[in-house]
Amino acid sequence: MIALLSRDLQLALRAGGGFGLGLAFFLIVAVLVPFAVGPQSELLGRIAPGVLWIGALLACLLSLDRLLALDWEDGSLDLLATAPLPLEAIVTMKSVAHWITTGVPLILAAPILGVLLQLPAAGYLWLVVSLLLGTPALSVIGTFGAALTVGLKRGGLLLSLLVLPLYVPTLIFGAEVARRGAAGLAVETPLLMLAGISAASLACLPFASAAVLRINLR
């Protein structure tokens, strides 16, 4: 499992695009929003948590079609499926690798982009915490979507259509934590719900993803 993880990480590092693309997209979204809604810092501060969450979610979505498709094309997915490791573990490791290459950079970049968007001072901590708890769920759900569409020629758009409705609860609770944090309100309830969604999808969805992958590899 560790070997698989380090292989995926090395691939992402050396092939490029893994770290960079999602981050660049996130940066561009955060820069474009003030152009669209105007530079008033009060308005920007109010929408900053939501915009940062949407940006992180879309950046995550952008990198999903590379998650399994590359391994599918060069046949290494078939090899992995016949390996002694259960497919569930392989899929989980894929999600973890995706989280480390996409989620973690987004979490680290979010406070910097928060400065650009005039996020209130109280919001930084909760923004980072909500992303830290929420992005694993995004990666795991995304892996499920990627597994569903892996065999398709042009699955990218379909992947977005399938995954976005599944992202709704995570987005609602995640953005709510960040918003309440920025407004100085109590964040416990949405925080617990967000953590619950992440934990439950991490525990259950790899089984669904592995089942889907088995069907696609048949």
């Binding site: 398709l152 399938l162 409705p165 048949r218």
Partner: protein, 243 residues
């Protein structure tokens, strides 16, 4: 005599062909009776005026929109567990019906909301969760269309339906939470079922039965079409092999 007899496509087709004419007539009769009763023989509401009568389309459509997804969930489970092709095809056949019901509910709701709430759309929990349901339907149908191999498509869409159901329920409660966090919201979501008078509820029940029968008839009919379409495909493939 068990339910599983109808897993045999031939048995399913002969029985559904016998049942369908009755179903069509019953559905048409109860919808016509319910709508005429509702539209012309109920008084106007003292606050909503005649717009209250949209309830006779809106509520049954919303009811069937949710039940269609539930039916797809059950059919998907049967396909995964017992692998009856008819079940997978029934789930496939129900999805477009469900999406149309969802659209009807959304559109009639908007038409009613414009004069009553003064807006076509509000991010009220009910409205929002219906919109999310609509998106789930779209994804499900798109996945069916995208995959060529019918068995793979049936497997993948079934699992999507299962996972989607969990997330749809989750979204429902998340949306409830989110909206109460943002606005008061409750002023918009009148619980219609609770305080509707008998004058309105009786024709409403007739309409609900009518819509349910219509849904049943449409699903049986469309499942029959799917079975035949698959037979044609098999025949063409066989002919190509022989020639």
């Amino acid at each position: 005599m068990s339910l599983w007899e109808y897993a045999n496509p031939k048995k399913f087709l002969t029985t559904s062909e016998r049942v369908l004419p009755v179903l069509w007539i019953a559905a048409a009769a109860s919808i016509v009776v319910g709508l005429i009763w509702g539209f012309f023989f109920t008084p106007d509401d003292y606050r909503q005026g005649s717009t209250v009568k949209i309830i006779f389309i809106h509520v049954p459509a919303a009811l069937m929109a949710i039940n269609a997804w539930f039916m797809m969930l059950v059919a998907s489970l049967i396909w995964i567990i017992r692998r009856h092709h008819v079940s997978a095809l029934a789930a496939k056949a129900a999805a477009p019906v469900g999406v149309v019901m969802t659209l009807i509910a959304l559109i009639t709701g908007a038409l009613w909301g414009q004069p009553m709430w003064g807006t076509w759309w509000a991010w009220d929990p009910r409205l929002t969760s219906f919109l999310v349901l609509f998106l789930f339907y779209l994804g499900y149908i798109a996945l069916w269309e995208a995959i060529d191999d019918p068995d793979t498509a049936a497997d993948l869409t079934s699992i999507l339906c299962l996972v989607g159901s969990v997330f749809a329920v989750l979204s429902r409660y998340a949306v409830l939470f989110w909206n109460q966090g943002l606005h008061q919201g409750a002023s918009l979501s009148l619980d219609k079922e609770e305080n509707v008078a008998d004058v309105f509820s009786n024709p409403l029940y007739v309409c609900m039965i009518g819509f349910a029968l219509l849904f049943l008839a449409l699903v049986l009919y469309r499942t029959g079409t799917e079975i035949r379409a698959r037979r044609i495909k098999a025949l063409i493939a066989r002919e190509r092999l022989e020639s």
